[in-house]
Each structure stands twice: as structure tokens, then as C-alpha cells.
Amino acid sequence: MKKHSIEFKLNGDIVKAEVLPNKSLLDFLRSDMGIKSPKVGCDRGDCGACTVLMNGKTVRSCLVLAVEADGCEIVTCEGANANKLTQKLQKKFHEKNAFQCGFCAPGVILSATELLSENPKAGREEIKEAISGNLCRCTGYEPIVEAIEEAAKK
């Protein structure tokens, strides 16, 4: 396999690297970049734990190849704090004690960030739809939905 040089923006910084075609973006972020907020859940696109923002849109980094990130802008939870919206969401999640183990949290936070940046006044149904691809084994979703609802209100 031939290595490819890629250059992309990761949480605001330019990253240059050489990657093999069969390396997933998730693997690359976690093992090469030391970015650990995207989690390895199912590794097959079902759970949303590996969610990152790619050019502002949530994607499942386990289904994206690292080579495909060339020229893109990738934001993970580590860098999303720079976004006011994410800060607001995080505050609400905190207040509501919305997570338990927190494994799903980075994915949920990014999905909610994408939703509110496109639809700042999103209602309950839209919130549920937006996080329907983020599985949570702990909370039963109620506090998560409530926290996003509150962030959408103000």
C-alpha cells in the first residue's frame, strides 16, 4: 500500500501527515494524534461514539478514511470548546448532570452543536432526531434531550 500525504485542519491547527489508505480517521485521531474524545464504540457506524465534525457536519470517523480528511476541517470535542454554542451546551449538560459514564458524550455534544448551529430554536422532536444516531447505554436520553432543549431556548 502506498502512503498518502495529507494536510488538514484539526481543531484549528494545520496537521500534515503520511497515512496508509486503510487507516480510519478514528484510528488516526486516537493513535497518531492522541485525540481521545472520539470513542471506539461499535467501529461500524452504528453507535455515534466516534462522531467528529468534518467541515462543520457530523460524520462517523470510524467510517471515514484518514486520507479523505485531506483538505478538510476536522473538529473534535477537544476543539469544539472554542465554539460558543458548544460551550453553552456543555454548561447545560453539566447543570442537568446529563451524562453518567460519559462515553457517548463527545458524540452527543457534537451532534447537538451541529443541530443548534443550523437550527438554533430546534424543538424536542428535532433534538431527538438529531441525536438518534448517538447511542447512550446509561441515561435513557431524557436529561440529554432536556439539556439540549434548554440550550435551544436561550
Partner: protein, 297 residues
């Protein structure tokens, strides 16, 4: 887990480059669109291509255009793109509605319509709408270009009419000229992310011609021509629906799988056919609900 499959990757800069690679490599080269199916298959070692050809750098590949009543979807148009398109919403309701039922946002942002029909699983959400709107699929190879009507596209489970040296270039759909209404109905085990246990797409025009397509109820997504023929010119009422159900039942060939049993599918297929037709008729007179409303309807 690392991906163990070994392959090369080429992000092409032109169609001619893509086509010459494809014709040199044939079926050992795969087109990488959103990767939401392909990367899963690679991870599981269910496919082992030598080369992935990435078309995402080509100009216009993600464009949705609407000219002279023809909608053209580039090979990289995603389900999220469809949902955001007012044209799709206005003229191709069933397609727009089907797009919303595909997995979840994070998948829809990457998964493409072209990829959906190239994977050609019996439950492909875009298949039913493309069948009732009688879409055409534009294929390119190094030497020629050809069009395949959606109805001839699906040749078997995960099989299509595309040749190993061809690449799907775009999908074209003519907007219906007269007033029509349409609906896409999907049955799944829970709301949110699931594949269809069964799906029905229905379309009605001003002469009471009905078009019906189904998914997950036979080896491929298909049109229900006999049921359509029976319904032609008829008003939808209880009696008509029950007769239509009997004809429909013979047109489908569901199996039992992890998502439901054959018997359940047979039963629900009729229920859904009725619901889809009733919804289509009511939309013909009352119009389509807004986004958000549509989901809780």
C-alpha cells in the same frame, strides 16, 4: 480496530482519469462515495478491492440541479443534501421523505443516493422513490455513456445493471408535469436508526394513475405493476384497499430475517400499502406537512 484489508487509494482529478482506472481495474476497483457501506464491508473483509477510487474531488459531483423540469443528482449528493433541497421537497416529496428516514444525521451527511442504489440492498431507502418517479441512471465508461431506467437497475440482491468498467455519473428524474402527490412509508423496529422491515412508496396523478414501489419485500426493490393496474382510475376506499391488498400480496416475496418474519412482513405489507395510499390521496388534496411535522405525523 484497524482495518486489515489492503488496498490503494486514488482521489481522481477528472472523469477521464476515473474511467481509465476503472476500465483497467474492473471489479477490483471500487468507487468510494460516502463510505458508510463500503468502509463497513472493508472492515468485515466482505469485499477486498485492490483500489478505491474517490470521486469527491470532481467538479459538480455534489450538485443538485433542476433544469427544464429535470432534477439531476451528482454521484456524491448525500441524503442531507436532499433534505436541504427545496426543489426535492417540492417536486419529489417521496424522495425527500425517504431521505429523512435513512439512518441518522451523521450517516446522512456522508451517505449518497448513488451509493445507496449501487449497494442495492433490498431495503435501500431511495430505491422506491426512484422507481415511482421513473428515474434514469447515467453511467459512464471510457468508451460510452448510457442511461438505465431505475426499473432495470436492480437485478438481484446487491446486484445492479452496472458493468465493471462503468461508473455511476448522475441520476436524473423528470418532475411530474401534472399535479401529483406521493408518500414514502417505512416500517422499522424502532424510530431512529434502523433498516426497513418493509417500505412502500406511492404516487398519485390527476388521472388517478397510481404508482407503487416496495422495498424489503422481495430480493430487490420493485414496482407493483399488477396492483397499480388494478387501482387505475379507482377511488381509494375500504373495499378497493382490501382487494388491492390481495393482489399486492401475490406481487411480493418477503423472507424471514433478523428484522422480522415473513408472516409479519406479509401482513404489514398490506397494512402499509393501505396507509401509503390513504396518505397519498390525502396529500393530493391537502398538501404535504412541513419538516418536523412530517416526522411525528
Amino acid at each position: 480496530m484497524p482495518i486489515t484489508a489492503q488496498f490503494e487509494y486514488e482521489k481522481v482529478k477528472s472523469w477521464s482519469e476515473a474511467l481509465s482506472l476503472k476500465s483497467a481495474k474492473g471489479s477490483s476497483a471500487k468507487i468510494l462515495a460516502g463510505g458508510t457501506d463500503l468502509v463497513v464491508l472493508l472492515r468485515e473483509n466482505w469485499v477486498s478491492p485492490d483500489l478505491l477510487i474517490d470521486l469527491k474531488g470532481l467538479e459538480g459531483i455534489s450538485d443538485i440541479s433542476f433544469k427544464n423540469g429535470v432534477l439531476t443528482l451528482g454521484a456524491n449528493v448525500t441524503f442531507s443534501d436532499l433534505i436541504k433541497s427545496q426543489t426535492v421537497k417540492k417536486h419529489f416529496t417521496a424522495l425527500w421523505e425517504a431521505a429523512q428516514t435513512v439512518a441518522s444525521v451523521g450517516v446522512r451527511n456522508r451517505a449518497t443516493v448513488a451509493g445507496n442504489i449501487c449497494s442495492a440492498v433490498p431495503c435501500a431507502d431511495s430505491a422506491g422513490p426512484l422507481l415511482v418517479y421513473e428515474a434514469e441512471i447515467n453511467l459512464l465508461s471510457e468508451k460510452e455513456s448510457r442511461k438505465i431506467p431505475a426499473e432495470k437497475w436492480f437485478t438481484g440482491p446487491k446486484k445492479t445493471a452496472i458493468e465493471p468498467n462503468e461508473i455511476l455519473h448522475s441520476i436524473e428524474i423528470k418532475a411530474p408535469v401534472s399535479k401529483t402527490s406521493a408518500a414514502y412509508l417505512k416500517l422499522s423496529r424502532y424510530e431512529g436508526e434502523d433498516l426497513a422491515q418493509a417500505s412502500i412508496t406511492a404516487l398519485l396523478d390527476c388521472d388517478k394513475n397510481y404508482k407503487i414501489a416496495f422495498g424489503s419485500l422481495a430480493p430487490t426493490p420493485r414496482r407493483a405493476y399488477k396492483t397499480e393496474e388494478f387501482l387505475k382510475g379507482k377511488k381509494i376506499d375500504k373495499e378497493t384497499l382490501s382487494q388491492a391488498g390481495k393482489i399486492f400480496e401475490k406481487e411480493i416475496a418477503p423472507i424471514s430475517d433478523i428484522r422480522s418474519s415473513k408472516e409479519y412482513r406479509l401482513h404489514m405489507a398490506k397494512v402499509m400499502l393501505s396507509r401509503a395510499l390513504e396518505k397519498t390521496v390525502s396529500r393530493y388534496y391537502k398538501g404535504v406537512p412541513h419538516y418536523g411535522e412530517g416526522m411525528i405525523e
